[in-house]
Symmetry: C2
DNA sequence: GCTTGCCTTGAAGTCCACATGAAGGTTTAA
DNA sequence: TTAAACCTTCATGTGGACTTCAAGGCAAGC
């Protein structure tokens, strides 16, 4: 398949695919007689892998280092493991930050008093909130006030 | 407290704090007679809030839009809610992407055979993996091969 | 034979989120 | 009084991850 089809299949732009190849995030792609890229499913899978790791916040540089190690012939599983574990730790921290932010926004959302469509549940929350305010040393949602 | 102390307290550079103020991610900061920023705990909390949201991948632009709505006097809770919910959806998707990538890397890590320090557990996994290979149509870890 | 639509490479441009530098002001300590 | 150590604003620079542009090649259809 040509690069445009690959782009449509993966959702990654043609330019980005070329960029990934140049940066060795994906293997060197086979060419047709005239020099056009001929992309197979192995490449598609590797593009998807890159996409997933990129979406998770892995940098091009880290990704390249990792893939380099992975593709190397020598017995470097120890370094691979270390790199993986390092990356894993970064990603887990990021996930936890994200979860904290999500919890935060959810808290805000649940303590909202929407004047236009007040439900009983919201009114009850409002009362509860009001009660809490009196005994307040609550910090959780205080940045924005 | 001056900007340097605030920077040390929050781990955010002085330049970044000035930038956040300019971009209205934090409120306008009070000044001393000579024009220096005098930062109080309210600002510190808002810097931390920005840091948290940034760490979770919220863009400056989205953050600004959100805070703008939040700080506004008018009754715009409906829009606030919509924006919050929108942002929440983005963040949840991001968290799930992240979790998928973490699972992926964990899978890899658990299927590693480290020649240098082979534990019994790893050997058992190796056997299990070998057995799986025979009945294989397993795709999960196939990108890099 | 010319247009359309794909492709190629290489260089240059863009966007974000700051970082850094220049030019200058104030307070503190020697 | 002079240097150090803060601070200010405004302008420009930087790094990462692409995107866009320029200049040209190949194949199909009219």
């Amino acid at each position: 398949m040509n690069i445009k089809e690959a782009s449509e299949k993966t959702g990654v732009s043609s330019a980005a695919i070329r960029y990934y190849e140049k940066e060795s995030l994906i293997p060197a792609i086979d060419r047709t007689e005239v020099g056009n890229r001929d992309i197979d499913d192995r490449i598609i899978r590797r593009i998807r892998f890159v996409t997933q790791m990129r979406a998770a916040g892995m940098s091009i540089e880290n990704l390249r280092r990792y893939i380099e190690l992975f593709d190397a012939q020598e017995d470097n599983t120890k370094e691979q493991k270390a790199l993986l574990q390092e990356q894993l730790a970064v990603m887990e921290e990021k996930r936890d930050d994200l979860q904290a932010a999500i919890d935060h926004l959810n808290y805000k959302l649940n303590h909202f008093y929407d004047h236009m469509e007040t439900t009983e549940a919201e009114l009850r929350q409002l009362e509860k909130q009001h009660a809490e305010k009196l005994e307040s040393t609550e910090q959780a949602d205080d940045e924005l006030k």
